[in-house]
């Protein structure tokens, strides 16, 4: 006999319990970010050398000035108070100024971020599309020449050095065949940048109707994107191929075929079965690609975040490095969250803590 007079409280709890799987996962994100921020905090403070001396460049400076510099760097007071101060700054996006050129760290990063994101996203979209196409091709026609090339290609996962591909690309397509522009940045140096609407260079060019710029950016992006795609698609392809093979052999699929389902239906169901492992891999893929982007930006002189980070390490620019690391960590964690959530949506078995009512 159900009690129809359930209080609103009980009903809310009921809803919360059912939806628990995704919002617990979301709630955990700030905790992770906190840990990363703490790790960055301690890591940066372990960098050898005295930051104050670095800033003053060995000149003779009064003690009062030193204290002032110290305070501006957030290095006064106990470790605990420094940490609190630091957390406050992180949350309010006050990353300070670069120790090398005095520019605002957040200002620089926020400008470079879209360019890096643009590159990464384009590469990931193409890599994913290629994986799906190649995976299906290899599974549908397992004895074709295509499959014979694709399977060993997938096996090279993670073994192709992106910078080698990049230099090779420059050697072949620029200096030898003159097909692509020089590695001199995101667009031809003679062009003027478009007014910032979105911050994404490609989109800004579109908005401004600047086809020359758009074309130049695309031409300059061909090699960087190609390098990323060729180097990192195998990671995704290998997982997808394996998952597809398992899905094809799985009893539910066989049943579908035996029950006379259409080719298209079976294919769709196979892809649906294989999807979760591939989607899970996309999170890792993003991580690898971000790493690859750092290399590619260096090689092709694209002014993105990666270049900023490398320079920061090279010049021991603590504030810049701090901002860079936190930003990268945040992006990585957010991407992982999204990937996790998508996976939990398509595969209900992956939702943690959900009471399996009914069965077993």
């Amino acid at each position: 006999m159900t009690d129809h007079k359930e209080s609103a409280g009980t009903r809310t709890l009921e809803v919360l319990r059912k939806q628990r799987w995704w919002f617990t996962r979301v709630l955990v994100l700030p905790v992770h970010l906190f840990f990363f921020a703490a790790a960055v905090f301690f890591l940066v403070r372990m960098i050898p050398g005295d930051p104050v001396e670095q800033l003053t460049g060995g000149q003779n400076v009064s003690a009062a000035k030193m204290e002032q510099i110290r305070a501006s760097l957030g290095l006064t007071g106990s470790v605990f108070s420094q940490f609190i101060h630091y957390l406050h700054n992180v949350v309010t996006l006050h990353f300070g100024n670069s120790m090398v050129d005095g520019l605002s760290v957040w200002g620089e990063l926020s400008q470079r971020l879209p360019e890096t994101i643009e590159l990464t996203v384009i590469a990931m979209v193409i890599a994913t599309a290629l994986t799906v196409v190649m995976g299906l091709a290899a599974v549908l026609k397992p004895r074709s020449i295509l499959a014979k090339i694709l399977v060993p290609y997938a096996r090279t996962a993670g073994a192709i050095p992106d910078f080698v591909l990049g230099v090779l690309g420059i050697l072949l397509f620029y200096s030898t065949f003159r097909l692509l522009p020089a590695p001199d940045g995101l667009y031809a140096p003679t062009l003027n940048p478009d007014p910032t609407v979105t911050g994404f260079p490609l989109l800004d060019a579109l908005f401004a109707g600047d086809t020359v710029m758009f074309g130049s950016i695309c031409a300059h992006l061909v090699l960087p994107v190609a390098v990323l795609v060729i180097a990192y698609t195998p990671l995704l392809l290998k997982i997808f191929l394996r998952a597809l093979e398992e899905a094809v052999d799985a009893p539910p699929t066989r049943f579908r075929i035996a029950a006379g389902a259409s080719r298209k239906t079976v294919l769709l169901s196979v892809v649906r079965r294989a999807a979760p492992s591939a989607v899970a891999m996309m999170g890792t893929l993003f991580g690898f690609m971000l790493g690859g982007v750092v290399v590619v930006e260096q090689l092709f002189a694209i002014p993105g975040m990666g270049l900023y980070g490398v320079n920061a390490v090279n010049s021991s620019d603590r504030t810049a490095l701090e901002g860079f690391l936190i930003l990268v960590a945040t992006i990585s964690l957010v991407v992982f969250l999204i990937v996790d959530l998508i996976n939990m949506m398509i595969d209900p078995r992956r939702r943690p803590g959900l009471a399996k009512d009914g069965a077993s």
Partner: protein
């Protein structure tokens, strides 16, 4: 040292076991719910029930491989889960369980002899050569040649592995043996041998025997009393004859009826020879 035959070996006192530690999981039925049993040297107890009835969980609780959520399991009066290491050793020496061979009952990276020897070394505290002697003795009991155990588990057949597993448990001369589906995967002809072996051992060594199975004929053969489990609860218990032939419980009766149809004898007649072989022999 507590005296032997009069006292119970193991007491199961109102034991309940729930799995899972989130509130959502707890709402499910417990695997074992409020079960009480007294086990001594004279016990010949069969535990039957369908899959999921809780019999395996109960076995594991009795031998101390699971901790009760409520209630307690006591060995000679001492709570199994609060024992000191030395008492625990005595407990393990006296209470042994043999599981169904799921082909992972022996460590694949070690020889069978190493695995059979281990209980003697750990629980009896003897050295390797004494343990070896005990192992050979016990192997003779189960009809396995000593050289066979110098191999790895994958090199012997399932039936042989099951007998070696029995030897492993018997090598320390336990006072209580718990058999969990030990014959379910064996050929019918081998089943008889194994069951007789267990019965003989227990009779000769004054050991208690608990036989857990979802097969009634085998259980009926070795047991004097039977417990019927369903959904973690004991629905009926009593002498074998009463439960099987005069049960008043609807569930038990349905269970038994399922067996009455097949009038297969427990110990089978000699395996029929192929007609071709018969032909060739003439």
């Amino acid at each position: 040292m507590p005296n032997d035959n009069a006292l119970a070996i193991v007491e199961v006192e109102n034991v309940t076991k729930e799995f899972g530690n989130t509130r959502a999981h707890r709402k499910r039925r417990p695997a074992v719910d409020g079960v009480s049993l007294t086990i001594d040297h004279a016990t010949r107890l069969g535990i039957v029930g369908e899959s999921g009835s809780g019999k395996s969980t109960l076995s594991r609780l009795i031998v101390g491989l699971e901790t009760p959520t409520s209630g307690r399991v006591a060995y000679r009066g001492l709570n199994v889960h609060l024992m000191t290491p030395s008492v625990m050793r005595e407990f393990r020496k006296n209470v042994q369980m043999i599981s169904q061979d799921t082909s992972s009952s022996f460590d694949p990276t070690r020889t069978l002899r190493d695995s059979v020897r281990r209980p003697a070394q750990e629980l009896l505290g003897v050295d390797k050569s004494t343990a070896d002697a005990l192992v050979d003795e016990t192997l003779a009991m189960v009809g396995i040649a000593p050289w066979m155990v110098d191999r790895k588990p994958g090199d012997v057949s399932g039936g042989q592995r099951q007998r070696i597993a029995i030897a492993r448990s018997l090598v320390v001369k336990p006072a209580l043996i718990l058999c969990d589906e030990v014959v379910s995967a064996l050929d019918v002809s081998v089943q008889g041998t194994v069951l007789n072996l267990l019965k003989t051992y227990c009779d000769e060594n004054q050991a208690g025997l608990i036989f857990v199975s979802h097969g009634l004929p085998a259980t009926a053969f070795v047991s004097k009393d039977i417990v019927v489990m369903r959904n973690g609860v004991i629905v009926e218990q009593g002498p074998v004859d009463d439960v099987i032939h005069h049960s008043k419980n609807l569930y038990t009766k349905t269970l038994i009826d399922a067996y009455k149809g097949s009038a297969r004898p427990l110990i089978s007649k000699p395996v029929a020879r192929s007609p071709l072989l018969e032909e060739a022999a003439r």
